[in-house]
């Protein structure tokens, strides 16, 4: 659950590539599979709420702990709620939460990472050391401490994901930026009088976008893992809201008599994370972000 995925870090901007008019991930069946899956999940996440599946929070919609059947496709939970709409909601919240967290992570880390590369000296030192310290915190323990401080629930999970995913991403962005800041075009821009804002925005940002996007994709999968791990420990989303992780958590007690309560959301969660990972791999290959490890 820690912010691993160290391999897909990178240096260097995507090299000059001819414009591609192919389908995405040309010749990469697995990544395509991942993309399809991901699109499927996202469709469910976005449009699932409009499907006539019933209210995910309505208790007593059926007998308690009923097995999947023709009427209740995914069975019911311990409050007699239909699980199917809860799964749909779970997919939505899992993606929403992890996605939001990753967007925040990306925004923060890209800015910090670029600054750490552009400004040498104290600023860089502070940023990199800060990242190191965060990195030295065992991830889930950090999340648990945080959940204790801000209380279990989405905000805590969100902050945890950001704090846990940021250090690695800062490093990746910094490494990528470092290889860009000394390039001739940046020096030329500085000589021409361009200020830091322009250099970061116009010259660094687009050139580190590749590694940043790839890393963000991996961060998304880590975020989903973290969110679900926290939820599993009861520190993430609180019922009746559902995320895939909290559904597993809710169902865990009933594993012996109602295994579907765990197995269905568990499988969906695995598939969702896998889809994200596969797409990340595909992006990494497509953007040719080399797997250079980022070291402290």
């Amino acid at each position: 659950m820690s912010a691993i995925t160290a391999s897909p870090a990178s240096t260097g901007p995507p090299p000059a590539a001819a414009p591609r008019r192919h389908l995405p991930f040309h010749g990469d069946a697995l990544s395509r599979l991942g993309l399809l899956l991901l699109i499927g999940f996202l469709l469910v996440a976005v449009f699932g709420a409009w499907l006539p599946l019933g209210d995910p929070e309505a208790v007593n919609a059926g007998p308690r702990l009923a097995a999947p059947s023709g009427r209740l496709w995914a069975g019911t939970d311990s409050l007699g709620r239909s699980v199917l709409p809860r799964l749909v909601e779970g997919i939505r919240t899992t993606f929403l939460l992890a996605g939001t967290a990753v967007m925040v992570t990306a925004a923060v880390s890209v800015l910090l990472g670029m600054m750490a590369a552009y400004y040498r000296g104290l600023v860089a030192e502070l940023i990199t050391r800060g990242a190191d310290v965060l990195f030295a915190f065992p991830a889930l323990l950090l999340a648990i401490l945080l959940a204790a401080i801000v209380g279990p629930g989405a905000p805590g999970a969100l902050i945890s994901i950001v704090l846990i995913c940021s250090p690695l991403m800062v490093r990746v962005v910094r490494a990528a930026s470092l290889s860009v800041v000394d390039r001739d075009f940046v020096v030329a821009a500085r000589v021409g009088g361009a200020g830091p804002g322009r250099i970061l925005l116009v010259h660094l940002l687009p050139n580190i976008a590749g590694p940043a996007v790839v890393q963000a994709t991996y961060a998304l999968s880590v975020g989903m893992l973290l969110e679900s791990g926290l939820s599993f420990l009861g520190l993430g989303l609180q019922p009746p809201s559902a995320s895939l992780g909290s559904l597993v958590h809710e169902g865990a007690v009933y594993l012996p008599i109602a295994p579907w309560l765990v197995l269905i959301p568990g499988t969906l969660l695995t598939l969702a994370i896998m889809a994200v990972n596969l797409v990340g791999d595909g992006l990494r290959d497509a953007l040719d972000v080399r797997g250079v490890e980022v070291r402290r």
Partner: protein
């Protein structure tokens, strides 16, 4: 290209009363390397003085590590001299308020054609960027200025909408030159601007630089380790060795009258292709001792 003068470069007559565009006085640059006990200083420049007159190109040659790049950076204000002074138009190039004053008046063209342009920007955006920085040209007028500039450096204005990866190395270097010239700067530093180019393309670009200078009259610092190339574009020449200028003067003297032994060796190491030296003796390895004996 028709606008350009195809004739030989005439060393622009130095008007007596005109001050130099940029002048360096006893510039010392020391880099700190290493940390803690291992910290030491590398003197990249050890008291260098020079003037560059308007419309003149000063060529700088020297072996790797002799301080050429550092010299260029110091003149551009990218590196603060450890001691000594760099004056641009009579005022220091580093310090408060210089950024605004110098905006658009200094430009640089660097070595690596792969890295000379931001790969994510269209050519015209790259070329127009210095205009955007100075903010003196209206947004709408920029594109036109870019098109003119591209024509001036011998490129089809239609290339303006391409990305750098769709250009050849020579084309990219031309674009970089266009970018450097668009603000009509007073000084352009060329640091190994043609080193990475193929022979044929290299000469194209060298010719371009000569022609443009004759037309636009900017002052230039042309840095290369290839004395042939430097000699070809410069009015005056300075030879750096171990952070110092060991010999300088008008370019003609570097064809046959070079005095300093190091300079002579530089010229000697450049064999003429029509009269291949039959033995290897002329370039016998320089022993360590001998190297150290040089000033």
């Amino acid at each position: 290209m028709s606008v350009l003068d195809h004739g030989p470069v005439d060393p622009a007559p130095v008007e007596p009363g005109r001050p130099p565009v940029v002048s360096a006085r006893d510039v010392v640059v020391a880099y700190r390397t290493g940390h803690g006990r291992r910290a030491e200083q590398v003197h990249a420049l050890k008291g260098v003085s020079l003037d560059i007159m308007p419309g003149q190109t000063l060529g700088v040659v020297g072996e790797s590590g002799s301080g050429k790049t550092t010299l260029g950076r110091v003149l551009l204000g990218l590196v603060r001299p450890t001691s000594g002074q760099v004056l641009f138009d009579g005022l220091p190039v580093t310090g408060r308020g210089t950024a605004r004053r110098l905006r658009g008046r200094l430009q640089v063209v660097l070595q690596n054609p792969d890295w000379s342009l931001n790969p994510t920007l269209h050519v015209w955006r790259s070329v127009a960027e210095p205009l955007a920085v100075t903010g003196r040209t209206a947004r709408r007028a920029r594109r036109e200025a870019v098109a003119d500039m591209l024509v001036l450096v011998g490129l089809d204005p239609a290339l303006a909408d391409r990305h750098p990866h769709q250009l050849s190395g020579g084309q990219r270097q031309r674009v970089a030159i266009a970018r450097a010239m668009i603000t009509r700067p007073d000084l352009i530093v060329f640091d190994e601007a043609v080193t990475a180019l193929d022979v044929s393309v290299q000469t194209q670009v060298l010719n371009l630089i000569r022609d443009l200078q004759a037309e636009r009259g900017f002052a230039a610092l042309f840095i290369s380790h290839d004395i042939a190339a430097v000699r070809y574009v410069s009015h005056g020449l300075a030879v750096t060795y171990h952070g110092q200028i060991v010999e300088s003067g008008p370019v003609e003297r570097f064809y046959d009258r070079a005095e300093h032994p190091y300079t002579r060796r530089l010229i000697g190491a450049m064999p003429t292709i029509t009269k291949p030296t039959s033995t290897m003796q002329t370039t016998r390895p320089v022993s360590r001792r001998e190297k150290d004996d040089l000033p």
